[in-house]
């Protein structure tokens, strides 16, 4: 690690001295462009990553026992048949039948399900903002 960083610095210094354009940087920029074009179709997944950490979300979903009521792909034993299945959540139009599906709306719903839907059977698990955002991030990976 340390060695590679040093190597990079040396190369950097070389380039400054010789004034040769950095082919590697150009190639990298090209790769980024290609990746960006490729990712354009996956905007929602990028949004999911911005809102929170999907991997932490998967653990939070397990700890909050969401799977005892919901079917959630990728979560062990999440095979509940009380609430709706959460497969393809990223493609769903509505949350709980009342909110248009957006990351902000989902976080709000997760933090206070009974304020959004009066008489809701889904409990308020007392999620922290971080947890709610991570769970939302995981759900948006379900395309």
């Amino acid at each position: 690690m340390a060695r590679s960083r040093n190597a990079f610095r040396v190369e950097d210094a070389d380039r400054r001295r010789t004034g040769v354009p950095d082919c590697r940087a150009i190639r990298l920029a090209l790769a980024v462009c290609v990746a960006a074009i490729g990712l354009a179709g996956c905007q929602r997944s990028a949004a999911a990553d911005r809102i929170g950490d999907p991997r932490a979300g998967a653990i939070a979903i397990d700890r909050m026992a969401c799977g005892s009521c919901h079917r959630i792909p990728g979560i062990e034993e999440a095979d509940g048949s009380v609430g709706p299945p959460l497969a393809h959540f990223a493609s769903r139009q509505m949350i709980a039948g009342v909110l248009a599906n957006s990351p902000q709306a989902l976080v709000r719903y997760l933090e206070a399900p009974q304020e959004v839907v009066a008489g809701n059977v889904m409990p308020n698990e007392g999620l922290g903002d971080r947890q709610a955002r991570d769970i939302a991030a995981y759900l948006y990976t379900l395309r």
């Binding site: 700890r63 026992a65 034993e77 409990p123």
Partner: protein, 203 residues
């Protein structure tokens, strides 16, 4: 001919058995030393391990869910006594309709599930077995050790009816169950018919 073949294979078989025993010994030593298994509840089980122990638990309960429940206990099971017992013994870990579990429960591993669809997952005999005898290493106590069998039957009946309760009805039952101390159990039983007829209406 056959005996010469056996004689030829025997050393290899012996070596194989020896290797297997050695590997098992090494694995056992690594396990007991704590190097390859983390018992902390902050680290998740691997997916395979979680799947395996959960499946073992399900099969163990199915296998042993016998006829321990006295039929008359099931017949006389009181939903309201069950509600009182559920509010006292169960709700902290398992929550209810619209009612969250206690905050520390999400820190348990495995974490106790909500029970709203437990009656579609388990038969009455299996639920009775689960409540009466608990589940090893999961935090689920064997309630039969400290509660009378009739109370276990009452709890099972309540758990089976729970999905039909709205959050408001569940909250009201919890409220009513609160004064249910051992010296006044009839205070709740007396209100049974009126309360439960409203509880079973669709909402």
């Amino acid at each position: 001919m056959r005996s010469s073949l056996l004689r030829r294979l025997f050393p290899g078989w012996l070596l194989g058995m020896f290797t297997a025993a050695l590997l098992a010994g090494v694995f056992g030593a690594l396990l007991l030393s704590g190097l390859i298994f983390d018992t902390s509840a902050s680290s998740q089980h691997s997916k395979t391990f979680a799947w395996a122990i959960h499946l073992t638990m399900i099969h163990s309960v199915r296998e042993r869910a016998g006829r321990q429940e006295r039929p008359d206990a099931a017949r006389h099971a009181s939903l309201l006594n069950g509600a009182a017992a559920y509010a006292r013994d169960c709700v902290a870990c398992h929550g209810g309709p619209g009612a969250a579990r206690a905050p520390w429960v999400s820190a348990m591993l495995p974490t106790p599930p909500y029970l709203l669809d437990s009656s579609s997952r388990w038969s009455r005999a299996e639920l009775y077995r689960l409540v009466h005898d608990g589940v090893k290493m999961s935090g689920m106590p064997a309630w039969g050790e400290i509660e009378p069998d009739q109370t276990i039957s009452d709890i099972v009946s309540f758990v089976q009816q729970m999905p039909k309760l709205s959050p408001t009805e569940f909250a009201r039952l919890r409220q009513q169950a609160r004064p249910a101390t051992p010296d006044s159990p009839t205070a709740i039983g007396a209100q049974e018919p009126s309360t439960f007829s409203s509880a079973s209406s669709p909402s």
